[in-house]
């Protein structure tokens, strides 16, 4: 059964990685509903949040393909109830209409929105929440002429996850192999690649 999955990808900060990620989806003709890239809790490590609508089997296979990418450290995938997620949206409306016809302060209270900019000609509202809440505000504002609307990608925190601080230590841990023992650079930390 297809459902919404949120894929969290921890990566190195590398040029071109977004393309490498995107290719995994496009090759299989899978549409990305939402994609966000941001820093993570660990310095130097980036975090992609990708939302797709697929079956668990497909998502698992995709995740393994993503994890196989060289600059990817770790991939998790979760259903909506396993994560805390938010999106943000901005709404631009004509100032005269809205101030005349709507009780703005009530609207802000009820919808959990806030005004980011108030100008003579227009007002920009911001709403952060889940899809439903964001869509509600669209419905409310539409009758008054919604001039512009934009919604951000989803960002999500996995409820079960302990974050990446300890994980990254595991990734940096090197099991000494025979090849390493013979290597004259073995005892130099800079031999570890962090490019």
């Amino acid at each position: 059964m297809k459902q919404e999955y949120t894929i969290t990808v921890y990566t190195e900060n590398q040029i071109g990685l977004i393309n490498k990620l995107a290719i995994i989806f496009t090759r299989r003709k899978i549409n990305i509903e939402s994609l966000n890239t941001s820093p993570s809790e660990v310095e130097g490590i980036h975090r992609f949040t990708i939302v797709i609508n697929e079956t668990e089997d497909v998502v698992r296979k995709l995740s393994r393909q993503i994890e196989k990418l060289l600059d990817v450290l770790k991939v998790d995938f979760n259903t909506d109830d396993e994560i805390i997620w938010q999106e943000m949206a901005l709404y631009k409306v004509a100032a005269d209409v809205i101030t005349e016809k709507v009780k703005v302060e009530r609207l802000l209270r009820e919808q959990g929105a806030r005004a980011v900019v108030i100008r003579k000609d227009f007002i920009i509202f911001e709403c952060t929440g889940q899809r439903e809440e964001i869509n509600n505000l669209i419905k409310t504002l539409e009758p008054y002429g919604l001039l512009e609307f934009v919604r951000s990608a989803r960002i999500a925190i996995i409820k079960k996850s302990d974050g990446f601080h300890n994980k990254v230590k595991e990734f940096e841990y090197r099991v000494p192999s025979e090849a390493l023992v013979e290597n004259e650079f073995l005892d130099k930390n800079e031999g570890v690649f962090s490019m």
Binding site: T11, E12, G16, N19, K20, I23, R27, R60, K61, R64, Q65, E67, K68, L70, D71, V72, L73, V168, F171, E172, R174, S177, A179, L180, N183, F185, K188, N189, E190, G191, V192, F193, S194, M195
Partner: protein, 582 residues
């Protein structure tokens, strides 16, 4: 760039010297043990070729006739030697000509490092002369790719490239170096090999619990069946694999790229899997109770229709690449890891078994296949020669010690069905991608990878015409390969399908050949044409002991088909032995 320079560590001043990016590149190759480069110069890689002029004594450069030839040669080199093949090509068309070879190396897990020249960094994105976006073109067909715009990056990027290409599941790497970086002088502190990248785990950790679980299932099996792929060869685990199979007395069948991991005439080697594989291995896949898949990826040419594939069996899948586990066939137990590590652990836990009745079933299938297909193909009553009898003659002469390089099509299936191989790394063919034109350049590379071994390229008349310009490479470098063109005057495999599945509507499969003998003569290569049975063996004996390259054209039956066959869309047990069974 933070490589090799942690702020907490005081770096002792070492003797540095100023070198160019090109010199650093060549030094890296030498430090990585590279001796042979296959390449083709051009504008954007000229500084590298200029530096190569001074490294002539340490690096051998083989000038090919087309960049595709360079990468296939590097693949052939890598496949027989286990070392990483190296390619030089220029920007633009030079780089795009590599794409087929990259895709081939990617799907067949072949370690190759390609160095492509690129326009000056300040010209990137300006549609400069011979500029293409090489990194983005090659991303889907490389294990890793990186563009260097600063010479200081070259030593660590090259170290990383060789580490990535050769470890874990091997694959091709493209390093695109802008011309300014090739020319740039910088303080060179020497070369350090790479042994660790934190975002790259070449080998998954072996989980002993899964080994125990797999062993328990195997020990309860009444009809265990081992199928193995190139993973055994790539992991240098041939001995471990043989010990495993021998202890359990398992019948073992190979995928096309796994062929030769144990000698093809080993008593437990029951033949090839797949569409044109042997009868028993296909049929009995659907009768075994435990299927042990080692270093193979359940390609659709192996499995046939998935919902009719080994449904009765418990499946144990050993693979180094976690992405292969459960990709096509759901496993009962998956053993992640390098089979060089996992196989001995598994061997320890399995019990000896004679599997007498079960092995007899394979033997019975072989008898049936021999009677209906193998014997008549190898000893035909027809006047025209068959591909199978050519292979039989080759086997009699080489005794199975040669490296067989095959192209793609009917002759490939016949070569892989009938060739006798005593040694590992002896079967070089384009398995996953099915690249026609692969064999001639790959044979050149194979000869450089194994100079002391006999290299025989078996090529169809279609595939040969795709890369025949590499005869020029053979001429110039006097590469001692034996080329055998099996000429049936058709694009045989497509013709076979048109005959069997498209009501004999032969659509553009009738291909004319040039006079190959004259063609070879133009390249100063000795050649001969054979169409009589009486001459076949003696001619083959002559050419295989010839001290120079040789081209032999063998005229074979025009409309012969390759059987057995698992028709597309059918299950493996629906394998047919003749057209009449269709």
């Amino acid at each position: 760039m933070t490589a090799n320079s942690s702020p907490n560590i005081e770096i002792k001043p070492t003797a540095t010297k100023q070198v160019t990016g090109s010199q650093a590149l060549l030094d890296a190759l030498i430090q990585e043990g590279v001796k042979t480069i296959f390449g083709y110069p051009g504008g954007a890689i000229m500084p590298v070729y200029d530096a190569l002029y001074d490294y002539n004594d340490r690096l051998e450069h083989i000038l090919v006739r087309h960049e595709q030839g360079a990468i296939h040669a590097a693949q052939g080199f890598a496949r027989v030697s286990g070392k990483t093949g190296v390619v030089f090509a220029t920007s633009g068309p030079g780089a795009t000509n590599l794409v087929t070879g990259l895709a081939d190396a990617m799907i067949d897990s072949t370690p190759v490092v390609c160095i492509t020249g690129q326009v000056f960094a300040h010209l990137l994105g300006t549609d400069a002369f011979q500029e293409t976006d090489v990194i983005n073109i090659t991303t889907p067909v490389t294990k890793w790719s990186y563009q260097v715009t600063n010479a200081e990056e070259i030593p660590h990027v090259l170290a990383k490239a060789f580490y990535i290409a050769s470890t874990g599941r091997p694959g091709p790497v493209v390093i695109d170096i802008t011309k300014n970086a090739q020319l740039q002088l910088f303080d060179y502190e020497g070369y350090q090999k790479c042994f660790h990248i934190r975002s790259y785990k070449p080998k998954p950790e072996v989980r002993p619990a899964y080994i125990a679980e797999a062993a328990a299932i195997i020990n309860e099996a009444k009809r265990p069946f081992v199928i193995f792929g190139q993973g055994v060869i790539l992991g240098n685990a041939e001995k471990e694999f043989q010990a495993f199979v021998e202890k359990g007395n398992f019948p073992a069948a190979w995928t096309i790229l796994g062929m030769g991991a144990i000698p093809t005439d080993h008593e437990l080697a029951v033949g090839m899997l797949g569409m044109h594989g042997n009868y028993g291995p296909n049929l009995l896949t659907n009768e075994c109770d435990v299927l042990i898949a080692i270093g193979m990826r359940f390609d659709d040419r192996v499995t046939g229709r998935l919902d009719k594939y080994a449904k009765q069996a418990k499946i144990i899948h050993l693979d180094i690449d976690p992405a292969e586990i459960d990709k096509n066939v759901k496993s009962t137990v998956s053993v992640w890891g390098d089979c060089k590590e996992t196989l001995p652990l598994l061997t320890k836990l399995i019990e000896k078994n004679d599997n007498k009745n079960w092995l007899q079933k394979f033997a019975d299938c072989t008898i049936k296949e021999t009677e209906k297909v193998i014997f008549p193909e190898q000893n035909p009553e027809s006047e025209t020669l068959t591909m199978a009898e050519v292979l039989k003659c080759i086997n009699e002469i080489t005794k199975g010690d040669a490296i067989i390089v095959s192209d793609v099509g009917q002759h490939q299936m016949v070569a892989c069905r009938y060739a006798k191989l005593n040694n590992t790394r002896s079967n070089v063919t384009s398995g996953g991608l099915g690249t026609m034109g692969f064999a001639l350049p790959a044979a050149i590379g194979a000869k450089y990878g194994a100079p002391d071994r006999q290299v025989i390229a078996i090529i169809g008349d279609g595939g040969f015409q795709m890369t025949l310009q590499e005869l020029g490479t053979i001429m110039q470098a006097n590469v001692n390969v034996k080329i055998i063109i099996l000429n049936n005057q058709f694009l045989g495999m497509v013709r076979q399908w048109q005959e069997l599945f498209h009501q004999n509507r032969y659509s553009f499969v009738n291909i004319k050949s040039p006079d190959y003998i004259k063609l070879a003569a133009a390249y100063n290569i000795d050649a001969k044409k054979v169409d009589q049975r009486a001459e076949l063996k003696s001619t083959l004996e002559d050419i295989l002991s010839h001290e120079n390259p040789f081209l032999l054209e063998v005229m074979v039956g025009k409309e012969n088909n390759v059987f057995p066959m698992v028709p597309q869309g059918r299950g493996v047990s629906e394998i047919i032995l003749s057209k009449e069974e269709l």
